[in-house]
């Protein structure tokens, strides 16, 4: 039985981590330019 309790706890902690990451990305404004990253990743930067 303890495995279930452990897994429940683990899943909730992982989820919480993902949620905190999400809130951080919103605050950093990462959703404001949805177009840019797909071009930037293809751009070989020589600097």
């Amino acid at each position: 039985m303890w495995t279930i309790y452990f897994l429940i706890l683990l899943s909730i902690l992982l989820g919480l981590g993902a949620w905190l990451l999400f809130v951080w990305t919103v605050r950093k404004g990462q959703y404001e330019d949805m177009e840019g990253p797909k071009y930037r990743m293809l751009d070989d930067d020589d600097e």
Partner: protein, 822 residues
């Protein structure tokens, strides 16, 4: 003559004008020195990749601004707290694809002193950070304009900031609800499985309690805006979408909490999902709206806010040669708001007249079409009145301000717009209208269920729970997605075509259209004088030759009619000597050792030209609103040029397409009756109203709409603004440099000057609206079908989850069909 294509701007041009330049052995060709300069710069920075990467092949003219006024930028410069740097946000105009963004970023980040340069691919906004000890803002702006782009100051309006904060808030609420709902699903599925194959009673209780804990923040944090709105609406017995959501999610929550205690089945997943999907819908809506309004906001920032004040009026007024007196005066650039009546303002060619006034000196032609609808430029000299907002075309003018602030003609129009805006009824959306009936109906069914159970002798708590279960199943989760998804698909598709839409209400109104009103000048017609016809009077002359000679002479003139003639020729110019412009009358010059005169009839009579064509010939054209000018040499009239504001190529086709849709077409114009009638007739419109002032246009629309008609107004000028606001749907055609009040007061903006987009927009709206109707039907259908199960007490979490999943899939799948509408 060979036609070449510019290697930079892709413009096609005749070989004679080509500029050649060698680039590491490769010969490149350009249409002008400006383009060549840009290519050189891009090449020297090793950024030639730009030309390979860019995705467009239609020509665009690079902007060459000689001077950038840095004052409007300076006030937006910020200090960066940590380092010693400065930062600014600006717009960069002229960006057409990802390569343009790339080029700008590279050029900027390679400039010494610039620490950071980032452009937003979607909004073309740049954030630049630099070291003020190495480089100044002026140099940075010059750098951008040196590669053919146009930097513009950027500031967010309060309304826009609010909108952005709201979208961000919704995103966090949605993300939270989505995260919790997905966690919740793990336990719900385990519970579902338990219903069929049995589950340990303690484990069931544990899962139910975890589900309860996960649901609480979804309802009381993510769902808080809905709860607040419901409480507000409840006071007026006003049932909106928000009340339906609160009732649905709330009853599922209360029902489930009760069921935990009696050991029944819980509906926490239903409760959380309703809220999650609704917030997703709201978020989608806010981005769809935000995108269009960001562009519209940028278009509306173009109005003049400063003017050239001529100081020391005394010597101007007393000087006998006012022109010279002014040129020696000091000219200061001041904000318009600080200008007082009686002060003198100078306006240079191409500038907008900032305020109303009377011309003191100078002469020019003024394009008043945007204020009055009059298509022909008006000649102005000392003593004439000028109207703020009109455009000074060719010469410098100095005028005395007679009206400022709220008294100006322009302010009067703006007031009319504001007045129409406040009177404008809030359109209730289809989904909200249905909800208005649906909620009371559901409440009645729920009450009836409770009463029914009581009569049958059920205990009070189970009767109450049966009633609540009706509310649980009746709430359609996907209703919140039904409209926003379709609107989002529609706005995305429309904006890729150059149609910007503000909000989803526009779609509903457009799909029910009965009448469409077109403005004339600039909407149906091109909005500037164009050569329509040449009549060669001398049989010995070749038409091409006559045009080339006329164009050669007129190319030296700054007059609008001259421009029309020059633009019509194919670029073969003769050398001209002894050119002279005769103000208000015409021009003369010597070509092929012939002394040629081009101008009005009175100029011909003054120059005693014989052989004049009969007045009737000219009168025929003048009657239909055209301007006729004559060309003569060796004392004989040789040709007649008919110049008018021509109809756009696609106008007739557009009108026919709209008529086919069963919509009544009319033309309203501020121009005179003859011109308006002639143009209307040519595009097959019977109903034409001429001499209409801005307020009259608004009244006309008001009268038509009184009978329950839905009117679409199409316009482009300030004079259309009140009408655009008054109409059910206001559609503005953006001419780029115009004062943006027309854009501000409309619901739809065409960024491309192509009338064919209008019938396309109407058809798309009709289709999208029927998709929305189907979506709403689909959203309700599965839930309504399940209501009898709840009434009879057969409600099961699987039924609720099934109704939710089926209706959501239907709505999403159906909305995606909009993509295939092309």
């Amino acid at each position: 003559m060979a036609i070449l294509k510019c290697n930079h701007c892709l413009l096609e041009f005749p070989e004679t004008e080509a500029v050649y330049e060698d680039f590491s052995g490769e010969k490149k060709v350009f249409c002008c020195n400006g383009c060549c300069g840009i290519y050189k710069l891009v090449h020297s920075e090793g950024l030639d990749d730009f030309y390979k990467k860019r995705k467009w092949d239609d020509a665009g003219i690079a902007s060459f601004k000689k001077e950038i006024d840095i004052r409007p930028f300076a006030e937006h410069v910020r200090d960066v707290a940590v380092s010693n740097q400065k930062e600014i946000d600006i717009y960069i105009d002229g960006i057409r694809c990802a390569s343009c963004v790339w080029l700008n970023e590279k050029i900027l980040s390679r400039t010494e002193g610039i620490e950071y340069a980032r452009l937003n691919y979607a909004t073309h906004r740049a954030r630049i950070r630099w070291n003020p000890e190495v480089i100044g803002i002026d140099k940075i702006l010059k750098r951008i304009s040196s590669i053919g782009y146009n930097p513009r100051p950027y500031s967010e309006s309060e309304q826009f900031k609010r909108q952005k904060a709201e979208a961000r808030d919704l995103l966090i609420r949605f993300g939270t609800a989505g995260f919790l709902s997905s966690q919740l699903m793990i336990y719900s599925v385990a519970l579902y499985a338990g219903y069929f194959q049995g589950i340990d009673i303690n484990l069931k209780l544990l899962f139910e309690v975890i589900a309860l804990i996960l649901t609480i923040p979804v309802i009381f944090y993510s769902g808080m805006p809905f709860i607040k709105n419901t409480i507000k609406g409840l006071k007026h017995l006003n049932f909106t979408m928000d009340s339906l959501i609160t009732i649905g999610a709330g009853s599922a929550f209360i029902y489930s909490v009760y069921q935990i205690f009696v050991g029944g089945k819980v509906y926490f997943d239903t409760s959380a999902m309703i809220i999650t999907l609704i917030i997703l819908g709201r978020y989608i809506e806010s981005i769809a709206k935000g995108r269009a309004s960001e562009t519209i906001e940028r278009l509306s920032e173009l109005s003049p806010k400063e003017a050239r004040l001529v100081s020391n009026q005394q010597s101007v007024a007393s000087g006998d040669s006012p022109r010279r007196a002014i040129s020696s005066q000091e000219i200061k650039i001041v904000p318009i708001s600080s200008i007082k009546k009686g002060e003198l303002i100078q306006v240079v060619p191409g500038e907008r007249i900032p305020l109303d006034g009377i011309v003191v000196s100078g002469e020019s032609e003024i394009d008043e079409s945007i204020i009055t609808g009059e298509s022909r430029p008006v000649f102005k000299t000392a003593g004439h009145e000028v109207i703020g907002g009109s455009v000074n075309l060719y010469g410098a003018l100095t005028f005395e301000v007679t009206r400022t602030g709220k008294e100006t003609v322009l302010s009067g129009i703006i007031q009319a717009v504001e007045e129409a805006q406040t009177r404008r009824p809030q359109i209730q959306r289809l989904a909200d209208r249905i909800v208005g009936y649906f909620v009371p109906a559901i409440l009645i069914i729920a009450m009836a269920t409770v009463i029914g159970y009581f009569i049958n002798g059920s205990p009070s708590h189970s009767a109450l729970m049966a009633g609540i279960s009706v509310l649980v199943i009746a709430c359609p989760c996907s209703l919140g997605l039904a409209t926003p998804l379709a609107v989002m698909m529609f706005t995305t598709m429309a904006s890729s075509k150059g149609i910007l839409i503000r909000g989803g209400e526009v779609i509903e109104n457009t799909s029910k259209l009965t009448n469409i009103l077109f403005d004339k000048t600039g909407t149906i017609t091109v909005g500037k004088p164009t050569l329509k016809e040449i009549i060669v009077l001398d049989p010995g002359q070749d038409r091409e030759y006559v045009l080339s000679v006329a164009a050669s002479i007129e190319s030296l003139s700054e007059h609008s009619i001259g421009h029309a003639v020059t633009a019509a020729s194919e670029g073969k110019f003769f050398p001209v000597s002894e050119f002279r412009a005769i103000p208000g009358k015409g021009v003369e010059g010597t070509v092929d050792s012939k002394k040629i005169i081009i101008g009005s009839r009175s100029l011909m009579q003054e120059s005693s030209i014989s052989d004049m064509p009969l007045e009737e010939t000219a009168l025929h054209f003048e009657k239909s609103g055209d301007t006729v000018i004559y060309m003569a040499w060796d004392r004989r009239a040789r040709a007649l040029f008919v110049i008018s504001d021509v109809i756009k190529n696609e106008a007739l086709e557009t009108v026919n397409m709209i008529k086919k849709l069963g919509i009544d077409v009319s033309v309203v114009s501020g121009d005179n009756k003859i011109t308006t009638d002639t143009i209307s007739e040519m595009i097959g419109v019977k109903n034409a109203i001429s001499n209409a002032s801005p307020l009259m246009k608004k009244e006309i629309i008001n009268n038509v709409q009184k009978d329950g008609h839905k009117v679409l107004m199409v316009g482009d000028g300030i004079n259309d603004a009140p009408a655009l606001t008054e109409a059910s749907v206001g559609l503005a055609i953006s001419r780029g440099t115009d004062i943006a009040i027309a854009v501000e007061s409309s619901d739809v903006v065409l960024v491309r000057n192509n009338l064919r987009l209008i019938p396309h927009f109407i058809i798309m709206s009709k289709r999208t609206f029927s998709i929305i109707k189907q979506n709403i039907f689909g959203a309700f259908f599965y839930n309504i079908v399940a209501i009898p199960a709840a009434v009879l007490g057969f409600l099961h979490p699987i039924i609720a989850a099934g109704a939710m999943a089926l209706s959501s899939l239907f709505v999403v799948g159906n909305s995606l069909r909009i993509r295939k509408f092309n």
